[in-house]
Structure formats: C-alpha cells, structure tokens
C-alpha cells in the first residue's frame, strides 16, 4: 500500500466523521481541525483500525502528534489495502 493511498483513505474517513471535505497533510494535528477532540479521536481511531485491518497500541493513541505519525503506523501494520 502506498502512502498516497493511505492519505486518500484517511481523507475519506475524516470527511465522513467531520461531515465536510477534509484534506490531510503529514503535519496536520488535532488543533487544525475544528471538532477533533479526545472523544472524536476515538471515532477516528476506530474507523482507521477497521478500514486498514490493524490495531493501534494504547500508547500510540494518546501520543501520536500528527497525521504523518498515524500514516507511518498504518503503513507498518495495515493488513487491508
């Protein structure tokens, strides 16, 4: 799976959750997206895990600093394309 494909899939997940078109960049953080709070974060994690057939570790969920870090974890662990 390519990095670009991961971003395309993530853009769709985020756009569905936040109900508006969202384009993510490696440096995007929760501060950049209105409404990305700790509860919405759980929805995001859950959707990402289902979409890519993978699991985040407990520590990763609260320590990921930006979308770029999330993408690296997905690339290393995804079982679904």
């Amino acid at each position: 799976m390519t990095k670009e494909a991961v971003y395309v899939a993530l853009n769709k997940i985020f756009s569905d959750i936040f109900d508006e078109p969202i384009t993510l960049f490696p440096e995007t953080t929760a501060k950049d997206i209105d409404g990305w709070d700790s509860l919405e974060h759980i929805n995001i994690i859950h959707s990402v895990e289902r979409r890519f057939g993978m699991k985040f570790k407990m520590g990763e969920i609260s320590t990921m600093k930006c979308v770029g870090e999330m993408v690296d974890i997905i690339l290393a662990r995804a079982t679904k394309g």
Partner: protein
C-alpha cells in the same frame, strides 16, 4: 506548611531561593531543591515521608525495568507499578469508604479502618503513574539518577495539590535550567496574584458559603440555594486557581515551567469546554491515560467516557457525592457529544452561557454536600422542593453586605485583566504604563494578603484534602 502562610512566604521560600542561587552549579541546585522539598513534605506530614520515599524508589526501579530489554519483565513491571500506585490510593484514601459501603451492602460489620491520609498522595501517585506509562510508551527515557527522580516526585511547588506535572513536562528542566530576571519577576508576580486570589477572595467567599450552607439547608430560600452554589463555585475557583498560580510562580523562581491548570473556566460555552479550562492537568491526565483504555469494539467511546468521569469524581474524595458529581458532568459531556458540535454552535451564545452556568452551579452544590441527606435537601431547595419562599432575608442581607466582594469575584473570574492590559499596551507608551500598573498591583496584593494572613483566620487550600 501552606503556600499562603507567612512562615512559608517570608522564611522558607526566601532561604531556599537564596541557597539555590548561591549554589554554584545545577547539581548543587538540585540538591538544595531536593533538601527543601523533603523538608517541606516532612514539615507537613513527617509520618508519611517514608511512604513517599518508598513509592519513589519502587517506581524508579520499575521504570528502569520497563525500559529494559526483556519484554516479559517490562510488562510485569508496568502492571506491578500501576497496581502499587493505585493500591496506595485505595488503601490510604478509599479503604474506609469501601469498607463502609461493603458493610452497608452485605449487612456485615467489618471494622472500618482509620488510616491517616498521606499528604499529596492523590497527586504524587498520578505523577508516578504518568511516568511509568510514558516510559512504557517510549515518550520519555527512564530517569537514570534516583536523586533526580526523587526530586520529580517530591518537588515542593507541586507536592500538596498539583498541578499534575508529568515527567515529560519537566524532564529537560530537571537537568538544565536557565533563570533570567524575567523568570524571577514572572514568578513573584504569579505568586502575588495566586496569594491574592486565595487570601483576599477565596477565604472571604468561604465565609459567605459557610453562613449559607453550614446551617439548616432545608430552610434556605430557592434563590438562596442558587446563590450559595454560585458563591461556592467562585470560592473553589479562587482557592484552587490561586493555589495553582502560586505553584506555577514558585516553580518559575527555580526555572521550571509548569503546565497551566486554569484558563478562565467560567467563559465556557459547553461543559466539555469548561473541563478544558478547569483543572486542566487532571483532565488531560485522565484523557491520555484512561479514556482510551477500553479496547473492545465500538462501545468503548462511552465506556471510556464513563471511566473518566467516574474516576474524576472518585478522585476528588471518598464520598458518593463526588462520584455523582463526576458522572453528572460526564452525562452533560455525553449529551453534548450526541448532539454534536455543529448543532451546538447554532444555539445562540447567551443560551449556551446560561446552560453552562446553570449546570456548573448545580455541580458545585453537589460537590459541597458530602452528606447525602443534606445534598438531597439542597437539590430539592434549588427547585422549591422544601416549601420555602423564592427569596429570603438571609440572601438579601448577604448580597447587601458583600456587594463589593461579589462584584470583584465575578469580575476577576472573567478575562478582564488580560483584556485591559492588552488594550493598554496597544496605546503609545502603554507598555511602560502596563508594567508600572502590574507591578503596583502585585505589590498591593502582596501587602494586603500579608496583612490578612496575619490578622484573619487562615483556611487551608481545599484541594490539599483531595
């Protein structure tokens, strides 16, 4: 020893600061801080000092194991560490509460343990847990020096009542700290503001709360109940944010930058926002270490939310009213989440302010009454359930005799000072004027607070009990 105590402010702190600055390098400076931190703790609770030292030693050792090369040992060390730290809270804070409830449920009469509450245990256990988890998650490397670790655990500006400073917040400053004149000025200013909040506002507001709530609650008028809860909310704000200001200011004198704990909570437009502005370090602790714990399927969002608010309540004290208080706020956050941010934003701002202020006011009432029967009478009283008039003489008398205090308390709980300062600084020569005003205000606060500390009856910081 308390922060709002002339002995601490004019003897302990200056001696510690002078010895700190005459010490020639960082190592000696840390040694001075460690000595004064342990002295501060022993002064407050000598009997519990061995427990603090033992907890620090064990967590230090476990932290090294967690970062070690053997995965099984690392996992076991993490589990042991967290169980031990939570066990400290369970034994020293909740054993009597649990036994009483167990007896009530089963009809048994097990002896209720009478264990003294070790100073600051609620706060230092959380500092230890965050350390272990952050090491496990490779956010920070384990501390190699035990004396530095012990300094982190016992650091006197945050021992008694927070903020919940994490190792990651100050790990670099534990080694190297540069202290400028600005740091000293900012530190002293912050101490003056915090002291003023505590001694002038919180302690005087405490008198009003006591007048209204300490007596027969069922005889209070409807507005009297609401008024009492509003005053108590303001008292709690000035007490705890005053303490936090002092902690942040004292730490700044020694080059530490503690995270902020309050950000004008009463300007919030949702309850979720209130908790992003009130006791910020506790909220973010629960968010980072507890919210994401439930790892099964989709219900985990709400299970995490329940865990966070149940724990937030219980953390504040071994009494059911605190649990109800936590879940009460959790319920509103859940509702806000179900409604969704976009729809909430469409609600007119005055309505949102009214909603949050009502919820917060009732919340502080729940927080005040540890006795369930009295809490029931208060809640009934809020809605006229006690058959009392809407408006009573007690309220009128209290409003008339405390008008200036109440006006000041409301005014300063809103970001008025930063707004005036910003406006002033935008004018020509405003920077100098703002500097002069700020310094004059801080000196006045220090003088007035000192006079009050010496003459008035002192009230301990409320959060030291949690």
């Amino acid at each position: 020893m308390l922060f709002a105590d002339p002995f601490f402010l004019y003897f302990f702190l200056p001696i510690c600061t002078v010895l700190y600055f005459v010490s020639k390098n960082g190592r000696y400076r840390n040694a001075v801080l460690l000595f004064f931190s342990l002295l501060f703790y022993a002064w407050g609770d000598l009997k519990s000092l061995p427990l603090l030292l033992a907890a620090a030693a064990l967590n230090f050792f476990l932290g090294r194991l967690i970062a070690g090369k053997r995965p099984a040992a690392a996992k076991a060390a993490l589990v042991c560490g967290i169980l031990f730290d939570l066990g400290l809270l369970v034994v020293f804070k909740y054993s009597a509460f649990f036994t009483e409830n167990f007896n009530a449920l089963t009809g048994l009469s097990l002896p209720v343990p009478e264990i003294a509450f070790p100073l600051g245990v609620s706060f230092y256990t959380f500092r230890l847990i965050s350390y272990l988890l952050d090491v496990r998650w490779e956010k920070i490397p384990p501390e190699k020096s035990f004396s530095r670790f012990l300094l982190y655990v016992s650091l006197f500006p945050c021992t008694v009542a927070g903020p919940v400073v994490r190792y990651a917040d100050i790990s670099e400053e534990m080694r190297i700290r540069e202290i400028s004149v600005e740091d000293l000025y900012a530190g002293v200013s912050r101490i003056a503001v915090g002291l003023g909040k505590k001694v002038i506002l919180a302690d005087l507001l405490a008198g009003i709360t006591e007048e209204l709530f300490a007596g027969e609650i069922a005889s209070l008028s409807v507005l009297g109940c609401w008024y009492g809860a509003v005053v108590y909310a303001l008292q709690m704000y000035y007490d705890f944010s005053g303490y936090s200001d002092m902690a942040i200011g004292i730490a700044r004198l020694f080059g530490f930058h503690f995270p902020e704990n309050f950000n004008y909570p009463f300007v919030c437009k949702t309850i979720a926002e209130f908790w992003q502005r009130w006791h910020i370090t506790l909220g973010s602790f629960f968010r980072d270490y507890l919210l994401y714990v439930p790892i099964f399927g989709s219900p985990r969002k709400y299970l995490g939310l329940f865990l966070v608010w149940f724990s937030t309540g219980l953390w504040h004290g071994a009494s059911w009213n605190f649990v109800i208080w936590g879940l009460y706020f959790g319920l509103f956050i859940l509702l806000e989440n179900l409604i969704g941010k976009k729809r909430i934003k469409k609600i007119p701002v005055p309505v949102r302010h009214l909603y949050t202020k009502l919820v917060i006011t009732v919340g502080f009432g729940i927080f005040y009454f540890t006795d369930t029967a009295r809490l029931g009478a208060f809640l009934a009283g809020l809605f006229g359930g006690n058959g009392n008039p809407f408006f009573g003489e007690t309220l009128l008398y209290s409003l008339a005799s405390n008008a200036f205090l109440l006006a000041a308390a409301v005014l300063f709980s809103l970001p008025v000072v930063p707004w005036v300062k910003k406006k002033l600084e935008e004018t020509p020569g405003g920077l100098i004027a703002s500097g002069i005003f700020t310094t004059a205000a801080n000196v006045t606060l220090l003088v007035v607070s000192t006079v009050l500390m010496i003459t008035a009856e002192s009230h301990p910081f409320l959060y030291a009990h949690f």
